[in-house]
Amino acid sequence: MYDFSQLTGAIDAALHRSMTPGWALFTELVIIGLVVLILYALVGLFLVYLERKVCAFMQNRVGPNRVGPYGIIQTIADLIKLLMKELIPIARADKFLFNLAPFVVIIVSFMALAAIPFALGLQAIDLNIGVLYVTAVSSLGVVGILLAGWSSNSKYALIGAMRSGAQIVSYELSVGLSLLTVIVLAGSMQLSEIVASQADGWWIFKGHIPAFFAFIIFVVASTAEINRGPFDLAEAESELTAGFHTEYSGIKFAFFFLAEYMNMFIVSALGATLFLGGWMPFHIGHWEAFNHIMDFIPPLVWFLLKTFFLIYVIMWFKWTFPRLRIDQLLTLEWKYLMPLSLVNIVVVAFITLMGWHF
């Protein structure tokens, strides 16, 4: 299994030889920034295209197929269109906050992307409190949404922002608790450690019942946290026209739009890393031949396969279910997901103590 840290180590050594350590560190930071930026744009644009294609096939349509072969360049065309669109200044809006909100949302999803382990050693930053860092950063997103809702001086936006504020804050709990289950099983919060601990089997299998429940709660709660699927109350088009980003136009709207898709990618990447073994290939017990074949698929592809499977499930939710009302949404969280995840934590703690997990 190729270890990317050899590559990064070689680059680091080359840089240190050619320039002073301060400059070397600076160029490394610039390289990482560029790589993550390119990754951000690529994955974001591809996800928008994927969503439109998946939704089209589910609705007996063909989806974008005019711009470029099979419509691949459609999203780039959309981005250029949004870039050229005029940024309509809103009368009596709080100018500074109005322009700050999209950047807050984008930067937050940017920071969360840094901690995701794509392959062995291919990780922008490997904090030993990886999971805590990601949940903490992603909960900042709600600040950007509230800012957008309040500062665009429109009633629809304000109601949309209030709704999504209540929704994201309350679903943080279930997401946190379901991630906690795997941390208790794996024993550490460092993402590369967690992936390493799944070498002999993914946590969803090794942790059997509690891990499976935690996985289900995680998928439901994270769909709610990124304002998608049956929980997209913030921009419920049939009620509030477009919720908190009603008044945004041009590139500012593109930021919100892209950030929503990147949040979806981050959430499914997190789910894949913790529950489905990140870039670990799929091994079944002692079937050496089967495991050997599985190793042929490079770990990066394994990681992307699992993430895009989760993304497909989240899209599947959105295009099938009607929307929940705000009070039903909160009752679902406080009366169903919260008790279940609390019980789940107790069960998994008991199982790890007794050592009954595999």
Partner: protein, 375 residues
């Protein structure tokens, strides 16, 4: 116009938190402005403002001959265009005591039920879309498109086909009309259970509609709410049963009633009515009698002086045509009692106290078509 007048139109003098849903709004299905005064998420009161699509049909009817009125009544409730025309034609035929050939009665009833089916399909797709299930819109319209193809094959246009004319039909149906209708029924009988699986049983949908906008039978009668919306609260108001016309006396069908009176009950009534419509078409499509498609009519129709009243069941309720004639070739006064006009004004009573999301669910379950309100 003075400042006060403008002020009164746009915002009534109250310091509530008022948002305008409409006239250009995704969930009002037409140009209707709902002035919603809110307290946080809960709706305090809803004041509908109508008139954005008022064309003065009743005034225009006073200067059109009876054949020319047909192209106006098409444009009232465009989803049950055929029933509107049939109401005027039946009223004129009743005034002139003209006996319409059997073939015309059969074809008119089949077209009534096909239009009701296509209207319920569009209602189902728009209702699902209002509540957030965007895929239902495409499934509903995919099946509705095939009905519109049948219409286009026989009458040349899909929705407003002005096919009825006093005395019978404009021209005969297409030779393979019966074959395509039979094929369509076989196709749609396989698709309707999917609607039930996708939306009717869906737990989120039931939570969104059960117990929302409850209307008891007395409120339905006193507000004059007819059609599937009225039948959702147990008020049996089906004109096809009370005063049968065309070929309805020859057909066996039940009037679907629910008693709960909430949005889910109104939803179930319309879903059952889709099955009933197909059942009615089944009984008629195989034995359409031969014969000519119109009775012998003079080119210029002069109704004998007097008043004539005709009741018809459209997809949304009871449409009544009231003609006052003074003997010359244009009616002296023509009044249409449109079902949506009465169905709309119960909205405030139902949605006060609910959430904004409930307001959208209730107005979706009432299935309002705005040109029918303003005429």
């Amino acid at each position: 116009m003075s400042e006060a007048v403008i002020r009164d139109i746009i915002v009534s003098e109250s310091d509530d938190y008022i948002i305008n849903m409409g006239p250009q709004h995704p969930s009002t299905h037409g140009v209707l402005r709902l002035e919603v005064s809110l307290m946080g998420e809960t709706v305090k009161s809803v004041t509908p403002h109508i008139g954005y699509i008022h064309r003065g049909i009743e005034k225009m009817c006073e200067s059109d001959s009876y054949q020319q009125i047909i192209h106006l009544t098409d444009r009232m409730d465009y989803l049950s265009a055929h029933m509107n025309n049939e109401a005027v034609c039946l009223c004129v035929e009743q005034a002139l005591q003209v006996e319409v050939p059997e073939r015309v009665k059969y074809i008119r009833t089949i077209l009534d039920e096909l239009t009701r089916l296509s209207s319920h399909q569009l209602w189902w797709s728009a209702f699902g879309m209002d509540l957030g299930a965007l895929t239902t819109f495409f499934y509903g319209l995919r099946d509705r498109e095939l009905i519109l193809d049948i219409f286009e094959e026989s009458f040349g246009s899909r929705l407003l086909h002005s096919f009825n004319t006093p005395g019978g039909l404009m021209h005969d149906v297409h030779p393979n009309f019966q074959k395509s209708v039979r094929e369509y029924l076989k196709y749609f009988r396989k698709k309707l259970p999917e609607y039930k699986q996708l939306l009717t049983d869906n737990v989120i949908f039931r939570q969104r509609t059960e117990g929302v906008g409850v209307m008891n039978r007395e409120m339905a009668i006193s507000y004059g709410v007819t059609g599937p919306s009225g039948r959702g609260s147990g008020y049996s108001c089906d004109v096809r049963k009370i005063a049968p016309y065309s070929a309805y006396p020859l057909v066996q069908f039940e009037e679907k009633l629910q008693t709960a009176g909430d949005s889910y009950a109104r939803y179930l009534v319309r879903m059952d009515e889709m099955w009933e419509s197909m059942h009615i078409i089944d009984q008629l499509i195989d034995n359409i009698p031969a014969g000519d498609f119109t009775a012998k009519m003079k080119p210029v129709l002069k109704l004998p002086p007097g008043e004539y009243f005709q009741r018809v069941e459209t997809a949304r309720g009871e449409l009544d045509v009231y003609i006052v004639s003074d003997g010359n070739k244009t009616p002296y006064r023509m009044k249409f009692r449109s079902p949506n006009f009465s169905n709309l004004f119960v909205l405030n009573e139902l949605s006060a106290g609910g959430k904004i999301a409930d307001l959208v669910a209730i107005s979706g379950s009432l299935d309002l078509v705005i040109p029918d309100i303003d005429r």
